[in-house]
Every structure is written in C-alpha cells, then in structure tokens.
Symmetry: C2
Subunit: 268 residues, 2 copies
C-alpha cells in the first residue's frame, strides 16, 4: 500500500479533538483518519507537565504502530508542553499542532496587532500561544484568559444557555477591554460555543477556530509533501476511533463534536 | 505502637475528599489521618466502572501498607461502584463510605419521607443513594438530579457567583418541584456550596452534608470498636497528604476544601 493511503493520526486527551477530525473530513474527504482519545486519563489540563509528557509519548508510539502518515496534535495541553516529545518520536513524519495552526491564523487575521487567546488554565499558563505568536510577529500584543468552565459547559450541552452566556461575558470582559480584533479559541471544545462567543465579542472581532485552521494547514502540508490521498479507491475512507475508556455519555458527547455518527469505537 | 494510634485512611479521586478530612479534624482532633487523592487520574465520575474498580483496588493496597486502622471512602463514585472491592481487600478493618453515611443521615432527617439527592452523573446513574435509602426505609421516595457543573464551579472558586446561582436554580428546580424536605449533597465538593444551596432550596429543606455525617459516624464506629485515639501523646496528630500528581492550583483548591494550610504534600 502506498504511503498516501495511510491514515492521518489525530490525538487528544479526550473527545474534544473530534472537532479537528470533523474539520479534516470536510476539508479532506478522501483521507483515512485514525483518532486516539485518552479518555481514561482525561483531562490533561489539570495534570503536571511530567505526567503529560509521559502520556503523550505512549499515545504517539501507539499511532506510529498503526502506520500513520502524519500526526496532528489536537490537544492544546499536549501541544503546549509536549510537542518536542511528539516530534522526536515521529522522526521523519510531519507533525502539526493546533497551537501552531491557531497562532499562524491569528497573526494573519489581526489588523490592530492585538490578539486575545482563550483556553484552559494549563494552556494559558504554558504561555505557548503568546510565545508562538511573538515568534511570528514580535510587535503583536497578546491578552490571555483562562476559561476553566467552558469544557464542562460544552459537555453539559449548554451551548446557548443563560449560564453559558453569563460565564462567557465574565470571561471575555477583560480581553475585550483591551480592544482585541482577533480572538483565538485555544481549546478543541470552544468551536461549539462559536455562535455565543461571536455574539458576546461582537462583529468586529474575528474568531480563530483552530480545528478549521488545522485542517487547512494539514491539506497544505499533505499537498506539499505529495502525501495527499488521491481518492482513486472505490471504497470510502476508513475512520477509526480509538479510546482508552468508554465513559458515560461518550457517544452522545462525541457525536456532538463530530457532527455525525461515531460508528464503532475501539477500546485499548 | 498500639493500633489506636494508627491513622484513619481517607481516599478520593482528587482533592474533594479533603472536606471529609476537615470534618474529621474538627470532630476527632486526636486522630492521625492519611489522605490519598488520585489527582493524576481524577475525575473518576466520567470513567467506566471497570476502570474505577481497578484504580480503587490500587489505592486501598497503598493505604493498607501504611497501617491504617480504618478506611473512609470519600469519593462518591468509588463508594457507588467499588465499595465491595474496598471491603474485600480491607479484610477485618472497618470501612465507612460517604454514601452509606449520607443515606442514613437523610433517612433520619426526613419527616415527609421525600428526599432529594444531588451528585455527579456517575453517582446518580449508579442509583447507589436511592438503593441505600430504600434498604433503610422502603417507603421513602427519592428524587435524583445529576449536577455535572458543580465540581468545576467549586474549583473555579465561584462559590457565590451569579453563574453558580443560576446553575443551582436550574439544577434544583425539578427536585424542589417534588416538595422534598431533605436534600443530600452527594459529592464531596458540594458542602462548599452549602450557603447558596440552602438559599435556593429554602429554609424548610434540610441539607445533609456528607462530610459532617461521615465524621460523626467515624467517631461512633471508633468508639464502639475501641479504636479511638485517646490523645494521651504529647505530640499533635500527624496529617499526611498523598497524591499521585500535583496539578496546577492544587494547593489553592486543596486549602479551600481543608479550611487550613496543607503543609507538605507527598507525591507517589
């Protein structure tokens, strides 16, 4: 089998990375995809850096054994504190991560050179977005806001609930006070809050959805490296979902992220 | 050393069980206590039953190796789905759990024989409270409500925030509509929301704080089994805090639960 037919490996600490899978399916309908969600050990955002790096290494080893042709780090926490671990183990395979993708898209979008970043506490504390944005354009000012309640609110399904609206207003207040013109949604869960975030932030603020930007950068990279699947097979692409545990409501939440039926889920 | 001087072992999936430790310190000021929080693998509430049972067994083995004189299961999820694992491994040692303690206190408190239970989705789905209450008094009606947002709200420190108030009103509405006269706070985090819960529920509803009821049942059990520490030592009691990972903000959150300084935290 030619390497172009090998799957894209996408991984996350839980179900959130399915928003990246969804964006990849829409952008690259011929690609095979294998998704790994470490649901037994989610969430990573509250763990120590050493633990996160160890878990990340284990996941990468698993995906390499499945012959992936590239790796997509869908978890902001892993991208923030363990992307070197992934690159080292991946060797020659291309690696993309959502922080890099989001930072690049935000720099391209910002006119006023004032960018807001919302994410989990660990991602914000890692300073990864601010550092990557600064490395692309040192003149840009970045204002960061940790939003620890957004993940549980999304998982509760309260996407347009008064509680979520009030929480959003509270979290965005200090960022909007800085007159940002671009807001990076720095967590895989946040795209599901996009309509509400846009409403609270106002029309003048551009939201950067990292799932969508990751998918378009993946398309660009595969084309450049001649690794894109030409889609000349009679069979539809294969989507595999591998998790370390099947928690309660996994299918319900997963399908909300994926925007379609999950089918069979493998547990390792 | 006499067995009476051995510590009480208290364990939870994370920091929440420190509310039980706090209640024990107040009720039993002479007792040595060792607390185990599985912070590397928290939260258990979203994991499968098999995984929870395996993790529980590992924690019990660790505490038995520390010569505890009794075990206190502070985690509702473990109490709900793995209390048999604990009792089997503990052998002759007494085991108390917060579900048993809460169920008993609620049955004693209810006059109208209509009890509400609020807890995490896993605890509610396990039906553990309803079953234990029914085994104590089959004529009591139980109304259960999962409250997945309370834990993250407490950990955010929004104990009296408009968002928490609105969330509480939403969660309690169906339970209060059933005219319950007693409400069991079925999660170690919830005692920190007691003032708000009492306000929303109204004065006629008795709140059952499982940390406090666990402490008083522990006192009763130790006296009965002649295992209470007489407190005739010149040195103050020893409190040990053992965790599997030291997450961000652990000390801040832990001390909020404990109501005092944590001192040294051991990582295993």
């Amino acid at each position: 089998m030619h390497k172009r037919n090998n799957p894209i490996g996408v991984f996350d600490s839980g179900v959130g990375g399915l928003t990246v899978v969804r964006a990849l399916m829409e952008r690259l309908p011929h690609e095979n995809i294998i998704y790994f969600g470490d649901t037994a050990r989610v969430p990573y955002g509250v763990k120590s850096v050493e633990t996160i790096r160890q878990f990340t290494g284990e996941i990468v080893d698993f995906l390499l054994a499945q012959n992936v042709k590239m790796l997509n780090i869908a978890c902001k926490t892993m991208a923030a504190v363990a992307s070197d671990v992934v690159k080292e183990r991946a060797g020659h395979l291309p690696v993309l991560d959502v922080i890099e993708a989001g930072a690049k898209a935000a720099v391209d979008a910002s006119v006023s050179k004032t960018i807001g970043v919302i994410a989990t506490p660990t991602t914000i504390n890692s300073n990864a977005y601010a550092r990557r944005i600064a490395s692309l354009d040192a003149s840009i000012r970045v204002f960061s806001q940790p939003c620890p309640l957004f993940v549980p609110l999304v998982e509760e399904g309260w996407l347009d609930h008064p509680v979520t609206r009030l929480t959003t207003q509270e979290y965005l207040k200090p960022v909007l006070a800085e007159q940002v013109d671009t807001l990076v949604l720095g967590c895989t869960h946040y795209p599901l809050l996009k309509p509400l975030l846009q409403e609270v932030a106002g029309d003048k603020v551009t939201l950067v959805d990292s799932a969508v930007t990751t998918a378009s950068q993946t398309a660009h990279l595969l084309r450049e490296l001649a690794l894109a699947n030409p889609g000349d097979h009679p069979t539809p692409p294969v989507y595999r979902y591998v998790v370390t545990d099947v928690p309660l409501r996994f299918t319900t939440i997963g399908e909300r992220f994926l925007g379609r039926s999950l089918g069979r889920v493998e547990v390792v």
